[in-house]
């Protein structure tokens, strides 16, 4: 009798759990699908009404500067950063 009750309770709890799972995954997908729609809509609206120029190769401009750093300057950089850190402590 008691075992029966326990099984019954288990089944009930598991049923609740399964319902929670279905509801939960449903909400998660619903939420993120709506978010996809919202993001796409926003991208369209921003591109149409608030267009922003894409920076032309944002990393290209800084790369040459980095490449032309000569040894003496590299030493200066290192020393400056070290010194700054030391003084900043």
């Amino acid at each position: 009798m008691m075992a029966f009750c326990i099984v019954l309770r288990m089944n009930e709890t598991m049923a609740q759990g399964i319902e929670l799972m279905l509801t939960g995954m449903g909400i998660v997908f619903l939420f993120l699908v709506m978010l996809i729609g919202a993001v796409k809509l926003m991208a369209y609206l921003v591109a149409t009404f608030l267009p922003e120029a894409e920076p032309v190769s944002p990393t290209a401009s800084s790369a040459p500067a980095a490449n032309t750093v000569t040894p003496v300057v590299a030493a200066a950089i290192t020393a400056a950063v070290h010194q700054h850190r030391a003084t900043h402590k």
Partner: protein
Amino acid sequence: MENLTRLWQSTGIYNFEGPQIVMMLVGFLLLFLAIKKGFEPLLLVPIGFGAILSNIPIAGIADEGGILYYLYLGIKTGVFPLLIFMGVGAMTDFGPMLANPKTLLLGAAAQFGIFTTLLGALALDMIPGMNFSMSDAAAIAIIGGADGPTAIYVASKLAPDLLGAIAVAAYSYMALVPLIQPPIMRALTTPEERSIEMQQLRFVSNTEKIIFPLMLLMLTTLLLPSAAPLVGMFCLGNLMNVCGVVERLSKTAQNELINIVTIFLGLAVGSKMSAGAFLQPTTLGILALGAVAFCIGTASGVLMAKLMNKFSDTPINPLIGAAGVSAVPMAARVANKVGLESNPHNFLLMHAMGPNVAGVIGSAVAAGVLLSLVG
């Protein structure tokens, strides 16, 4: 003489109990994993140390009047995990996700790990010695979200007694992501699928990045207000970072504030690792369920990506689906690394960041569902 007796009776040797010693060893194990193995050290060093401190006999460091008791108030009120989440938000770049929004579906699929774990916990309840209420099961399930502050926030609301075990499981498995995920990812994909190169991401304007956190908060407000504290603080951090006009606040949120709160939060989590609460069969159940959650979440993400490839023209490398579990940025790095094995010229990192941050949103939404229906 009386003094000596009194002192002797107040030594740890005189008062030590077995379970406390075991919990201290657990604390040392966490420190070892953090320091020598590099397991999420920023959290596991304070958590492990907090576990040691709170199990020192007589001292009562985690009891009322002790420092860990006061620090725990920051978790009990929800303030600490939310402040951490604000800092994480400030460090998050939604750019890759905005460039390819359908990767949000991968972040949704990976939450399957959360809900199967919930069922698993309820099933384990049948085993004698394991007692998980629905609240407990929900708090354990959130480990599958692979997101520390979310797990701590939910556990502190639904099952404070299990907080220690849940936080430790969550951070441990996040650290183990590079070991747990690759076999699953390889088993579910063919070498050809793993070699798929993805289109370069489009440029995302700053206006979109500013609008997105507000839009996300509004959607949360409309559909699932119970997730609003988590999502809201995350969005606040993100907005402070991208809006460009409050750089000093954003930097503080990402650095000093999150560091201070991390120390306090870790110690306070450790203070919940008392022998009475931790040395239970349930803890083993939690650890087992946590591992299952990570595996199922990973698999769901990969399979969802494969499913999407059936319906879409622009191909998705299914490896990035594994990043949907969150564990930012570890899971994205894992996807990148496994991808490079099959195709040495295929850099998936930026593509995997999309589902990775989507996974954070996904688990916050799942947390909202659990808090709303179970709490």
